[in-house]
């Protein structure tokens, strides 16, 4: 019987893997993942004005605004780009506004702007920002921010405070964090902010793979049922063997698919390293990169030693739970359409876990989320998130594992009874009655 189990597993896997659609889907996935990791290089490869310094011509009718504005724009630009370099070149413009407008109109590209500072009796400073076309969002925010700070700085300066003192006022304060709880440290605090952004990206493949798993088992069982091939199969192997073959094949498939996703990701990173990664596009890529380096700097590497194995173990146990449940539900349905309706609640449960994992950082210490992290099916998503954030300990993860093992045992014990009756049932009439009767037997 063991050789028949192995054979059924290999047949299920081959039916999924040895298809042109599996190859095609993975080629597309590979291209998308590599593309996403190298999105900045792809964007720059198509050309654009990414590396050009923005020229800011300043007409200063107040004497001191130019220097103050230059300093403020430099501070803002460095904060956003996380670089010592400023992406703005400030030029003091001595001609009239009309000359400046004419100069902008003659420019081919929208790379310059003119900022005019005038004294105001009522408002300290009146400012005009002149550009040929629209400014992009980041430029608008940076320039507006620098102008507002310049206004405050000018007001302070006019109150007989030296330029040196003004710079001291604007420099960031030295903050020393003190934690009365000895278990708390600044690393965890930083990690909390970082994980809120990074974790959903890490957990997304798990969510995707659990959906693959449910759909694969549902489709296979229903295919065998609707073609009545099931009668011949079950007349040769026991429903138990058939059930385990589907569960094992499904899990092997998602593990293989997961491994492929890791390979695609690694390939993307390798290509990124190979092409030198000239990070030109500011924003998401920069942020994620710096967050990952911050994570490693903050001792995340040490935590990975136990977080990765625990997370993987919990995920495998959860995959098994999903596959057992999918097998049982598929045996109860008579066609794939019915199964698709039944699988929707499972997907929603998984989705709830995903959103709660994202919100865990925001609602720190929420009892509701902590309790849900023990609940099988979503614990694999919530537990690692809460563990990284320091909201639960390793013992809590072990409790979640024990609960999912108990769930899997119950699914096998009682689910198998339903499966035995369900796979040879072709009518939805009196379905629940039949299933409850099967449970009692």
């Amino acid at each position: 019987m063991r050789s028949k189990l192995n054979y059924l597993i290999s047949i299920s896997l081959n039916r999924k893997i040895k298809t042109k659609w599996f190859v095609a889907a993975n080629v597309i996935l590979c291209l998308i993942i590599i593309g996403l990791i190298n999105i900045d290089s792809i964007i720059t490869a198509f050309g654009g004005d990414f590396n050009q310094t923005q020229k800011v011509y300043v007409i200063d009718n107040t004497e001191h605004s130019f220097d103050l504005f230059k300093e403020q724009l430099k501070i803002s630009s460095q904060a956003v780009n996380q670089s010592e370099e400023s992406s703005y070149e400030l030029i003091k413009y001595d001609k009239t506004i009309e000359d400046a407008k004419k100069m902008l109109e003659e420019e081919e590209k929208n790379l310059s702007m003119v900022v005019v500072f005038d004294k105001s009796e009522e408002n300290v400073l009146d400012v005009q920002v002149i550009t040929k076309e629209y400014m992009d969002m980041i430029d608008t925010q940076l320039v507006n921010n620098a102008i507002n700070n310049t206004k405050v700085a000018l007001a302070i300066y006019e109150s007989d405070i030296s330029m040196e003192d003004i710079n001291k006022i604007y420099s960031p304060a030295n903050i020393e964090r003190v934690y009365l709880d000895e278990d708390k440290n600044s690393q965890d605090e930083n990690m909390e902010i970082i994980m809120t952004t990074v974790f959903p990206i890490i957990i997304l493949p798990f969510f995707m793979l659990s959906i693959f798993l449910i759909q694969m088992i549902g489709a296979e069982v229903n295919d065998e049922k609707t073609t009545r091939g099931m009668e011949i199969i079950i007349s040769n192997v026991s429903p138990k063997t058939h059930f385990f073959a589907k569960v094992i094949a499904g899990n092997l498939f998602v593990l293989l698919q997961g491994l492929l996703l890791v390979i695609f990701g690694s390939l993307g990173l390798f290509i990124r390293k190979l092409i030198g990664n000239n990070n030109i596009v500011n924003g998401i890529t920069n942020e994620v990169g710096s967050m990952i380096s911050d994570l490693l700097k903050n001792g995340f590497g040490d935590k990975l030693i136990y977080i990765v194995p625990l997370t993987l173990l919990l995920m495998i146990l959860t995959f098994i739970a999903y596959s057992l449940l999918a097998g049982i539900l598929a045996s109860m349905t008579t066609n794939i359409e019915d199964f698709q309706q039944l699988q929707t609640p499972i997907m929603i449960i998984s989705l709830v876990g995903y959103y709660l994992a994202m919100m865990a950082g925001v609602f720190e210490g929420a009892t509701f989320i902590k309790v849900l992290s023990y609940v099988p099916f979503i614990s694999a998503i919530l537990c690692p998130s809460l563990l990284v954030l320091g909201q639960i300990g390793i013992i809590d993860v072990f409790v979640s594992m024990i609960l999912i093992i108990i769930t899997n045992y119950l699914l096998i014990k009682y689910g198998l009874r339903i499966y035995k009756v369900g796979i040879l049932n072709y009518s939805s009439a009196g379905l629940w009655k039949k299933m409850f009767k099967a449970l009692k037997n």
Partner: protein, 299 residues
């Protein structure tokens, strides 16, 4: 020997099979007959272990049928039970391996059977691309691939043209001659008469006819007499024991209520001129079936 003993099956309150008993010995072809919903498929499923009976037992060579014996059983279901996305080769390898056969043996048997059924070119065709009749051939091939000791055929001739029915019949008879026990169900009584020695007729799960075909016909008292003579239909109808007279192109078919009444008809005919035919025939199984099932339907 297959022994089905007092097997009863309920679906909820519905009695599907009631105390059914029969035996099939090696080399025998056994017919399980009945109208739709009579309990034939339920009986097959119980024999195959796909359903548990509520009482009674099914044994093969003295042992209850379990998964240690299924490698020696062939099963053809009433509906198509093929995985239509597979090719013929893949399908046979799949079902053959589940029967414990080696890959080499499966391919060897498959090629032999495809040649025999005159469809060797379909070996790498997807099942869904085949016609209904050819799908039925493939289904039959998967059932006999392992040269089963017990072959169960649920409506094997459904969807087949007369030419292919002949092919199937030849193969079934050949397998019985080699010692296989064969049980099959059909609506076609002529098929049963052709190769079944024993049969059971079910009606709403209950056995209405059971035993050897020859005994059943013998026990059935009614007979048919074919007559060619100078006589009128009215005169024949007046004879004591005659239940019906059917006037055909150049002869009469006279149905009598009991074989003892043959003498009454003979006495009348012997006094008639130009008698060229007087043949007493056994009734067909179809007649017995309709008569018995009809009687029980009314009950």
């Amino acid at each position: 020997m297959l022994k089905v003993e007092n097997v009863t099956k309920y679906y909820g309150d519905f009695l599907a099979v009631d105390k059914l008993s029969f035996t099939v010995k090696p080399g025998e072809i056994f017919g399980l007959l009945g109208v739709n919903g009579a309990g034939k498929t339920t009986t097959f499923r119980m024999i195959m272990g796909l359903l548990d009976s509520d009482s009674g037992s099914v044994t093969l060579n003295g042992k209850p049928i379990d998964y240690s014996q299924t490698d020696y059983i062939g099963f053809l279901t009433e509906e198509r039970s093929l995985l239509t996305k597979m090719t013929v080769r893949e399908q046979c390898l799949f079902f053959g391996t589940l029967k414990g056969m080696s890959r080499e043996k499966i391919i060897e048997r498959l090629q032999y059977l495809l040649d025999k059924f005159e469809i060797p070119e379909y070996i790498d065709k997807k099942i869904k691309e085949l016609s209904k009749g050819n799908q039925q051939k493939i289904q039959f091939i998967t059932a006999v691939l392992n040269e089963p000791k017990l072959l169960i055929l649920d409506e094997p001739f459904a969807g087949l043209d007369p030419f292919n029915v002949e092919m199937f019949k030849k193969e079934i008879i050949e397998m019985a001659e080699k010692g296989s026990m064969i049980i099959f169900s059909t609506h076609r009584m002529d098929h049963v008469e052709l190769f079944c020695k024993k049969l059971v007729v079910l009606l709403r799960g209950k056995t209405v006819i059971s035993g050897y075909l020859s005994d059943i016909k013998e026990q059935y008292r009614k007979k048919n007499i074919l007559i060619k003579a100078d006589i009128t239909k009215k005169k024949l109808e007046k004879i004591d024991g005659v239940t019906e007279v059917i006037e055909k192109a150049d002869e009469f078919e006279v149905k009598i209520e009991d074989k003892n009444k043959v003498k009454n008809v003979f006495d009348v005919i012997s006094k008639t001129k130009n008698v060229t035919k007087f043949v007493v025939e056994e009734p067909s199984l179809n007649e017995i079936f309709i008569a018995k099932v009809g009687e029980n339907y009314e009950k």
